[in-house]
Each structure stands twice: as C-alpha cells, then as structure tokens.
C-alpha cells in the first residue's frame, strides 16, 4: 500500500490536470471572492453588483471568507471531480490499466491509494484556498481578523471536506465507463441535478446540494436550515464510492 501511495502521489505531482485544478482553487477562487466583494462594496447599479449583493453575508472578513466558502462548495467539487475522473480514467484511456495486473501491489490497493492521495490533495487545497484568501484580505486592508473571521474561515474549510468526498463516486464511473469522459459527463450531470433538486425544494437532503446551501449560496436563512446530518451524508457517499471503486478495480478484466 505504501508503494502505491508513493507512486500515485508522484503521478499527481507531475499531472498537468492537477496543477491547473490547483491554480483554480488557490488563485481564481480567492481572486473571484475578492472581486465580488469589491463589486458589492461599490454598491453600483450594475447587474454584477446587484447579483453579488445577494451573496454577501456580513461585512469585511466575514463577507470575504463567506464568499470563498460559497465558491469553494462548487469549485472543489468541479476541480477535484475532474482530477478524480482523470486519475482513474486515464489508466484506461492511456492503456496502462493492464500494466497494473500481475504485480505484488494489488489493484485494490492502487485504487485505495488513488483515493487517499486525491482526498488529501483536495483537503490541502481547500485549506490553501482559505489561507490565500486571508492573505488577500490583509492586502486589501480588512484589518486584523477577529473571532468572526476565524469562524467564517473554519466554515469555508469545512465546506471543502464534503465537496471532496462527494467527488469520489466519479472514480467508480471512470472505471465502469473505462475512461475519464464518462466521469466528466457524470460530474456535469451532478451539477445539473443539484440545481434541479434545489429548485424543487429537496435541497439539503441531496448530498451534493448541502455544502453549497450551508455555505450561504441560497442566503443566510437557508444556510441556517442545513443540519449537520445533511452535511455528513457526504461521508457515507464517499465511503461507499471508495469501496465500490476498489471492488471494481479488484474484479475488472482488461479489455
């Protein structure tokens, strides 16, 4: 298992897809949050200002970190989801799946190592995105962050955890679909279904909708209705996805 972890970490470090996803989470998301806050502060009559004002909850640090949390609830699922799809699907597209047979390292362990490395990577990036946002806040002159800011930062980091776990079923799709494109398709499908389910009112009981709602995407009132149980539904989703993916890798034949 240790060898598989080392190899999968090496592949992820060298991956172009992972680097782009990391840049999106570490630079684009904090940058967008700061931009949205600036637009809201200007209180202009532009369409952007009107839309952004609905997203901003609180003032100063709370507002900035709250915006980052909202953006991360979508961006982590998309960025980690794409890399999960790539990591599992590329073995089929590149034809290397067969080379992972007949080795002292079991394929089940390779699948578990991929999952562990991807989860750790996603969580580090979630924390990193909040840290970059904090630096950005200091640069923008938001002053010394207080207890409210710490709470908002914690909330933004916590949003990343279920979002990472909810990307794991895409690894199973990439196996069954024998490539990353079916998994990317499933990711897009998840985003669409989440929108539909939210509009229909099922909301936070749909695991992929809960992090966004809790982060304040539907406003402060809606965020307050999301329960810990609803957020924690991501844990069984991630656990079942990990088990199903490892089981598929252990049983699948080469095509």
């Amino acid at each position: 298992m240790r060898a598989a972890l080392e190899v999968e970490a090496l592949k992820l470090r060298r991956s172009g897809a992972a680097r782009i996803a990391a840049l999106v989470l570490l630079l684009a998301v904090p940058g967008a949050a700061a931009g949205f806050l600036a637009a809201a502060r200007m209180r202009g009559d532009s369409m952007l200002a009107a839309k952004v004002e609905g997203l901003v909850i609180g003032e100063g640090w709370t507002a900035l970190l709250g915006l980052v949390g909202q953006l991360l609830s979508v961006a982590v699922l998309l960025a980690v989801g794409v890399v999960v799809a790539w990591s599992f699907g590329r073995e089929h597209v590149d034809g290397t799946f067969g080379a992972l047979f007949a080795l002292p390292t079991a394929r089940r362990d390779v699948a578990l190592a991929k999952t562990a490395v991807l989860v750790a990577w996603g969580l580090v990036l979630s924390v990193g995105a909040v840290a970059v946002t904090a630096l950005l806040g200091l640069t923008l002159g938001l002053g010394t962050p207080g207890a409210d800011a710490a709470g908002a930062a914690g909330r933004a980091v916590v949003v990343g955890v279920p979002s990472v776990l909810l990307a794991l079923p895409l690894g199973w799709v990439a196996g069954v679909g024998r490539g990353y494109l079916p998994a990317i398709g499933a990711l897009l499908g998840l985003v669409v279904v989440t929108q539909v389910v939210t509009v229909l009112g099922a909301g936070a009981w749909f695991p992929w909708a809960a992090p966004g709602m809790w982060s304040g995407m539907g406003g402060a009132e809606l965020a307050a209705t999301v329960t810990p149980v609803q957020l924690l539904l991501a844990v069984p989703v991630g656990a079942v996805a990990t088990w199903a993916t490892a089981a598929w890798w252990a049983r699948a034949e080469v095509r």
Binding site: S15, G98, P104, V254
Partner: protein, 248 residues
Amino acid sequence: MSAGGEVLLRVSGVRRSFGPEHAVAGVDLTVRAGEVHALVGLNGAGKTTLMRLMLGMLRPDAGSVRLGEVDVRDLPAHAWGAVGHLIETPFAYGELTVDETLYAAARLRGLDRAEAREAVRAVVDELDLGHWARRRARNLSLGNRQRLGLACAVLHRPRLLVLDEPSNGLDPAGVLRVRRHLVRAAEAGAGVLVSSHHLDEMARMAHRITVLHRGRVIGALPPGGVDLEQQFLAMVYAAEGLDAEVAR
C-alpha cells in the same frame, strides 16, 4: 536447443470466448525455467488473449493457469513479484520521466526504495536508456517507449517473463539488445514466454516454438530450423483445410 528446467507456468485446457468468438479454445502449454518459449501465430490467433489469461488480466471460461503449484486466481499478490510482463501497452505515464517511470515500476513490483533506485540504475545501463533518463515518457519515440516498457518488465529480475511482441517498434540494434537480454535471462534460469510474428527472430533465440491458430495450438516448429516461414504457413493452411501450394 533444449531446456528442461522446472515448470514455472502451466496452462491446462484454457478456454475464453468473447460472445460467439472463441479467442482461446482449449490450450495446454508450459513455460520452464531456463527456456525461451516462443508463441507464434497470425494476427488474431489468440496470443495476446492467452497471455492475458496467464496473467489474470482475463478469467478463463474453463481450464486453469498455474504459477508453480497455485492457480493464478488464488495467487497472493506478493507472489506476482516473480513475474515480469509487457502486454501491448507499456507501463509508461506521459507525465513521468523515464527514471521516474522505472522507479514507480520497481516500487509496485515490491522493491523497497533503495532496491528500486539500484534496479533503475542497473536497467538503464543494461537497456541503454541513459540518454533518455530525464525525458518525459510522452516525448519518447514508439521504439523507446517499448524499451521503457521492457525495462519495467525486467528490472526486478523476475523468474518468469511474459512478453507480447517485445520487439515491436524497435530498430535492429534494439531488437538485438532485447534478444541478448532475454537469452541471458533464460541462461540465468528465468523462463521466458515471448510472442512474435517474426519467425527469424524467434528461431534465433527460442528453445521451443509453439504455433497458435484460431485459439488452438496446432503444432510446434523446430527452433533453429530453416525456412520456418514456409513450415509455419503450411501448418496454418493445413489447419484451415487448405492446400499450401494452392493457397500460395
């Protein structure tokens, strides 16, 4: 040439179909320690499928594949450390350099970090990959990717090698180097099963040549014999019920 070491791999009555297509239709075959056993056949004869069945990449519909005394379906993962293989696509990840690819292959083959580094150094020398050691796999030519795949298959000094068209894409110097490596491995006691279309190449290094056609073993060719191509085609035509002279 002859070699009569212990049986490392035994295939018994193996069958595998894909829908109505009988890709492997009841094959018996052994690979012994110290021998190069060549598997020859036309495209679609079932060579790759048979090798995949041997390595657990496919499950047989009937029959068994035993590595030593154990059916490969029951083989514990660590036992695969005695096997090296290259079937179609090499173990090559485009984003990794040649050195990194070899190190990754060595680690997945059960070598610890120090052993893996030493194995990489040795195989880079042996297969003359030094010039490309820092180059990413995606930037290698087809032939050099194949050499990289071969290096991954042999770097842990396995007792059994299963290689599907190992000289695919190699230049004459590369073919010679691979041939020497496989002959040396067999002399050191490894069993080597190798498939190829190149009968001359097989004649130069194999101790046994088995002919596969339509998923069945239809005969053997004498290693080191002359005019193997004619003998091979005559065997295939006879299996098809055709007159070799008329077919020619």
